[in-house]
């Protein structure tokens, strides 16, 4: 009888154990459901309108689809067409030149502005707002006003330049200078944004480093060279990567200022994607060019990722 009681007791214990684990299980499931309910509203929209198109875009690059016919798998045809497409290469070259023009100057100017503003001065906020302002203003408005400033005969820029040279450039109307004009406006527009990133970087440098350096008798320039610049290396790297990626995605400024012209002088990659997809309705071929853009951006991102990993290890 005692044994029976004992075994009964054991049975009871296991059953409560089971109950607890079952309860725990149920709780966990309930918890997961609650978590899903938090995520679902965003995830559904994200899944349908971003994730599916992203996946589909890779497939589309290997298809021929002129919008009205049925899509057909064509393997690498789009890419071999691209190799012989001079317009594609011109757009590629222009995007590359644009990037080369924008990145170093934006980097230097935004760093310079950040250093000037990284002081405890009355009114610093006002100056920060002023430099940042071009970045938040609507693109069409600034493109339009710059087009007027760049007007080859009547524009204030050329009126100013005529005081020094007889024949100032035709800017947006000249195939030689149009890209330069867009580069200038881009630098002006982006510098405030990267200045903010640099300011954040500067403010994270410990003050003790400067104190130690000045105790060692380092002057301002030496402090800048030996403390500021090395400490800013991660920021500079990040800013460069962001700049390169954003330069490769340039479209709106080009579309409004020059519409890719004169001729094909400012035709850039995204402009070419737009043109093939939504003007000529070559969805497949446009997706192949879009794929090239993706590969470039991915490549740059991977470089950044690898660099970050190395930094973490060091």
């Amino acid at each position: 009888m005692k044994r029976a009681q004992h075994s009964h007791f054991i049975m009871q214990v296991t059953s409560t154990d089971e109950k607890i684990s079952k309860q725990k299980h149920r709780l966990q499931r309930k918890n997961t459901l609650i978590a899903y309910s938090f995520i679902a509203p965003n995830f559904l929209g994200f899944f349908i309108f971003t994730l599916i198109p992203v996946v589909f875009s890779f497939v589309l690059a290997f298809m021929s689809w002129d919008s009205f016919s049925t899509p057909k798998f064509v393997g690498l045809d789009n890419f071999s067409k691209m190799i012989h497409d001079t317009t594609f290469w011109i757009s590629f070259k222009n995007t590359f030149l644009y990037t080369i023009g924008v990145v170093p100057f934006t980097l230097l100017i935004s760093l310079g502005l950040a250093i000037l503003l990284n002081k405890k001065l009355a009114g610093v906020k006002f100056f920060r707002t002023a430099f940042f302002f071009p970045y938040v203003t609507s693109l069409v408005a600034i493109a339009v006003v710059w087009n007027m400033l760049f007007h080859p005969t009547m524009g204030p820029i050329n009126q100013f330049l005529r005081m020094f040279i007889a024949n100032p450039p035709g800017w947006t109307t000249s195939s030689q200078w149009a890209l330069t004009a867009i580069v200038i406006v881009s630098i002006w527009r982006f510098m405030g944004y990267y200045m903010i990133l640099y300011l954040a970087g500067l403010q994270s440098i410990p003050k003790e480093l400067y104190e130690a350096a000045s105790m060692d008798g380092a002057n301002k320039w030496q402090q800048f060279k030996n403390v500021t610049l090395p400490s800013l290396r991660p920021t500079t790297f990040f800013v460069t990567i962001m700049l390169v990626i954003n330069c490769f995605k340039i479209f709106d400024l080009v579309q409004v200022m020059t519409d890719g012209g004169p001729g094909r002088a400012t035709n850039v990659l995204v402009y070419e994607i737009y043109n093939e997809a939504f003007v000529k309705f070559n969805f497949g071929y446009a997706s192949a060019i879009a794929f090239v853009l993706f590969v470039i951006v991915l490549g740059v991102t991977i470089i950044q990722f690898g660099w970050n990993k190395r930094q973490e290890k060091a």
Binding site: N31, I34, A35, Y36, F38, P41, N42, F43, G45, F46, F49, T50, L51, I52, P53, V54, F56, S57, L116, L121, G123, F127, T129, A130, F131, F133, P134, V136, T137, S138, L139, V140, A141, I142, V144, V145, W146, M148, L149, H151, G155, P156, Q159, L197, A200, I245, F248, K249, D252, Q255, Y274, A277, F283, A286, S287, A290, L293, F294, L298, N308
Partner: protein, 291 residues
């Protein structure tokens, strides 16, 4: 005898140092003032041209202050193009997209940062993965999809495409992670539901994050050009940006009117930015330092 002399030397030295610091400060102010004027010149020019007659816009030398004032430019433009419709469309898009983005991404960010469940990291990886993909490389499948749904040339298409942005979830999660988990744990022990924790603890603590995301989304949507450019073709659906571009195409020599319309298109965002810029700048610094 010797001591005062040393003090004199030191104070002389200090005075010199102070004077040099003051001169440096003045030079810095002058440099900053010149640079900021140079940066803002296009805006001064725009504002001044918007009050001139078309003939006075390009005078030599530049008239920074118009000789005669023409504020009526600002009323004429409303009749030349359906500016009110463009304003309405832009406001609808900006408000609706910002609202949905804010609501859904702050929910999702809570799920991703404060709750533990199977598959969480995989799901979040999908979000991160798409942030790296430029929109321009998947806009074509999106467009085909919208055409199938018969939503091209509607504001709805842009709402669906832009309101569930991965960036919003990412930015909010960044802020939520900075709140200690213990806070949520002790609230759970006290019997608060997840919804209660979200509403009573997380939301009040992350007000700056919410303001940041609001202003960034609002400004981006307001200024967006390529999205509306691809999707909206009929005049009654156009946004302010497209409308301004249309104006330039139709009346390309009416410089003063174009400038007046440009000023109007900048004004709302400029005001929002000037009032809330602290949050804007913080948001950029936070999302920029994501790695």
């Amino acid at each position: 005898m010797e001591a005062p002399a040393t003090i004199d030397v030191i104070s002389e030295h200090n005075k010199k140092k102070q004077r040099r610091a003051r001169i440096n400060k003045i030079i810095l102010y002058i440099a900053l003032a010149l640079l900021s004027i140079l940066t803002l010149i296009p805006f001064f020019w725009m504002l001044s041209a918007s009050f001139k007659t078309n003939n006075d816009v390009f005078t030599v030398p530049i008239q920074w202050i118009p000789k005669t004032w023409h504020p009526e430019n600002y009323s004429i433009i409303w009749k030349q193009i359906p500016l009110a419709t463009f304003f309405k469309n832009t406001i609808v898009l900006s408000v609706v997209i910002t609202f949905i983005q804010l609501l859904t991404s702050s929910f999702a960010a809570y799920g991703f940062s404060k709750m533990h469940f199977k598959g969480r990291d995989t799901l979040f990886l999908m979000y991160i993965g798409t942030i790296a993909v430029p929109w321009q490389s998947y806009m074509i499948p999106q467009f085909i999809m919208m055409r199938h749904l018969h939503l091209t040339d509607t504001l709805m298409s842009l709402v669906l495409l832009q309101a569930f942005n991965a960036f919003g979830v990412f930015l909010m999660k960044q802020y939520y992670t900075s709140i200690p988990d213990e806070l949520c744990e002790s609230a759970r022990i006290d019997g608060l539901t997840e919804w209660g924790i979200y509403r009573r603890i997380i939301l009040p603590l992350t007000k700056p994050a919410i303001v940041s995301l609001t202003i960034i989304t609002f400004v981006n949507t307001w200024n967006d050009y390529m999205g509306p450019f691809v999707y909206l073709s009929s005049t009654e659906n156009k946004t302010l940006q497209l409308g301004l571009k249309m104006f330039v195409g139709l009346y390309d020599t009416q410089y003063a009117y174009i400038m007046a319309a440009s000023v109007l298109s900048i004004l709302p965002v400029a005001i929002v930015f000037l009032v809330l810029q602290k949050y804007f700048v913080e948001g950029i610094a936070t999302s920029g330092m994501k790695n």
